[in-house]
């Protein structure tokens, strides 16, 4: 019998549009599997020729979910073009940017858990497709759905207050920010009169972590073994203490056992990373030059961040991190489904950090913009909700962009997602004549754990359906599942 190929197209409940191909060998065993990303938009090219000060506003159009991350990564790079490094930004500007960033990560993590991941967790992998969505979650658990909406809304309100709009607003300007907070705005988020307060956000974040811990306890055999494979892990950490850092820090990578592979200043990334390309995807494959294409790839995002950091600075999230780490005896966690749990610990960390900043009078300050000696190159690195995000810009004497390089979180995760698809395909598709709904959903779950944003990764626009196709070794399509 001829080898076969399975293709999943489109993948659902992720951002963008992707296709999975699974190739079978002569014995109907899975030989290989790929996630193809077939959108292309070319932001790096068409930003060229624009004045540098337009960049933080333009590039956030890459995405409707994490525009703030692109806004801030670009802003950090543009700061350097006007001669301002992160440590030279005013305290008020730094804290306001951080508050915006925590609001963004908070709403994005809430969105992923409640809207995208919870249907799988509440109804199980065997549930019919029509039940695995937010509408069914709402019908099944009204209070959970309401909290999900209000948590997302809280993060959006932080963003709106600081940047003027929920999506594609503006706070950062070259060398700082253009506005600060007011005491009236403090009250809006603290007193719980018009929207649930930040204390409610902290309490609800703890509730969903408890839900997740309970889920892991009840489903440990499946959760521990589903898409479990060794990888390196990469994330920003505090330059001095090694703590979890989302806005500015060193880039740190460890291997699957916890050995440190890299710990560098973020602006040095060019000396340590390369990007490979494959003919079947528009997404590139970043890797650490020293370790090569085969061994130098990393996971990024919540799981990787909890693996690479030494601790979390906010108390409640740190307690939860310790519980999380105890499960693997303080060794790195390579179990993909634990990404959801890690994401919720970060959700709590963001809520606590938002409260700290809301109570900090520095954000009422008026020292908003700094200036320095202009330069021709700027590199901004930030932890977006989905992982490490790099923006690099070069300008000419007139301040026009001549070169741009973007490495987004989902691109960093490209190899990891492909390995995950391969792992789960080998587990469930060997000797199977066709793709069932449950199989399809398991492949999707391996992808969805990373909360990939293919729109960002290819800088394309739109939603992400998934197609899975099964092909023989001659490339003939023998079965197809389309959602």
């Amino acid at each position: 019998m001829n080898p076969k190929k399975i293709i999943i197209d489109p993948v659902t409940r992720v951002e963008g549009h992707g296709k999975v191909t699974v190739k079978l060998d002569e014995n109907n065993k899975v030989k290989d599997a790929y996630l193809h990303v077939v959108e292309f938009r070319g932001f790096e090219k068409f930003i060229q020729g624009h004045p540098y000060w337009e960049v933080p506003i333009i590039v956030q159009r890459l995405c409707g979910i994490c525009p703030v991350s692109h806004h801030l990564a670009a802003a950090k790079a543009i700061d350097q073009l006007v001669g301002v490094d992160p440590e030279n930004l005013s305290i008020t500007a730094t804290k306001l940017r951080k508050l915006l960033h925590y609001g963004q990560v908070f709403q994005s993590h809430a969105l992923h858990f409640f809207y995208l991941a919870s249907p799988d967790l509440l109804f199980g992998i065997d549930a019919p497709a029509e039940k695995r969505n937010i509408v069914a979650v709402a019908a099944n658990n009204r209070e959970l759905a309401k909290k999900g909406i209000l948590m997302r809304k809280f993060g959006q309100e932080i963003i709106t207050t600081l940047s003027g709009k929920k999506i594609h607003g503006t706070l950062a300007v070259p060398g700082g920010v253009h506005k600060s907070f007011t005491s009236k705005q403090f009250e809006y988020f603290l007193d719980g009169k018009q929207i649930p307060s930040i204390d409610s956000m902290i309490a609800w974040s703890k509730e969903v972590i408890d839900f997740m811990k309970s889920y892991h306890f009840k489903n440990s055999e499946w959760v521990d073994n589903f898409v479990n494979y060794p990888s390196n892990h990469l994330g920003l950490v505090d330059k001095k203490t090694g703590a979890l850092e989302l806005y500015d820090g060193n880039i740190r990578s460890i291997d699957y056992e916890g050995n440190e592979l890299l710990n560098i200043e973020d602006i040095e990334y060019r000396n340590h990373f390369k990007e490979a390309v494959e003919p079947w995807s528009y997404m590139k494959f970043p890797y650490m030059t020293k370790y090569g294409r085969e061994n130098g790839w990393n996971r990024v995002g919540p799981l990787a961040r909890l693996n690479t950091c030494s601790h979390i600075t906010t108390p409640l999230a740190e307690i939860e991190r310790q519980i999380f780490k105890a499960y693997t005896k303080n060794k790195p966690n390579n179990m993909t489904m634990y990404t959801h749990w890690a994401r919720l610990i970060e959700l709590l960390h963001c809520a606590e950090s938002i409260k700290e900043l809301l109570l900090d009078e520095d954000i009422l300050g008026d020292d908003l913009v700094r200036k320095g000696t202009p330069r021709t190159k700027g590199i901004g690195v930030i932890e977006a909700p989905r992982g490490t995000l790099i923006h690099e810009y070069h300008i000419d004497d007139e301040g026009l962009i001549t070169k741009c390089n973007l490495i987004v979180s989902t691109t960093f995760n490209n190899e990891a997602i492909n390995r995950g698809v391969r792992t789960v395909s080998k587990d469930i598709l060997n000797n199977q004549p066709e793709i069932t709904e449950t199989m399809l959903n398991q492949i999707e779950m391996a992808i969805r754990a990373y909360d990939p944003c293919l729109s960002c990764a290819t800088h394309a626009l739109g939603e992400m359906p998934l197609i899975v196709q099964l092909e023989d070794n001659q490339g003939n399509l023998i079965h197809e599942k389309i959602r």
Partner: protein, 147 residues
């Protein structure tokens, strides 16, 4: 300022894509006529959390540009909650927002969609001449039924 009690008008679109800005232009006109801005909401697309927003109103108008030929250049139709799920976090159709509102908040606002025919969708600010005519016709009709 004229305040529409318990009524929300949501303009959906993008005014940098020519006629896709019809929903927003509709709101701009109402604001010029003195409608309180609290009753007018500009959106690129609807999101799940808009179920929370509309739960506070008794009547909702969703105003959006339409690519398909409309006999009068516009139409106003009543909307009902739909259980069909066509979900992306980037956008949710109005009838699914109504369904979520009913499911989560146990509220059933009366809802209408105002469709206005557009023609061009390139990267440019400003409506085409024909879209502008359709906008004026839709506004005239909207005033007649509402005021």
């Amino acid at each position: 300022m004229k305040k529409l009690d318990k009524t929300l008008i949501i303009g959906i679109g993008n005014n940098t894509r020519q006629d896709d800005g019809l929903g927003w232009c509709f709101l701009d006109s109402l604001e010029k006529e003195g409608i309180n801005t609290e009753n007018l909401v500009y959106k690129y697309q609807l999101l799940v959390e808009d179920a929370d927003l509309i739960s506070e109103y008794e009547t909702i108008f969703f105003v959006d540009a339409n690519k398909i030929l409309l006999k009068e250049g516009f139409s106003i139709e009543q909307l009902y909650p739909s259980e069909k799920v066509n979900f992306s976090t980037h956008s949710v159709p109005p009838n699914q927002i109504l369904n979520l509102c009913e499911t989560i908040y146990l509220k059933k606002p009366k809802a209408y969609v105002v469709k206005i025919q557009g023609y061009n969708w390139d990267f440019e600010i400003g409506l085409t001449k024909q879209a502008n005519i359709n906008l004026k016709k839709s506004l005239k009709y909207f005033r007649e039924i509402n005021f």
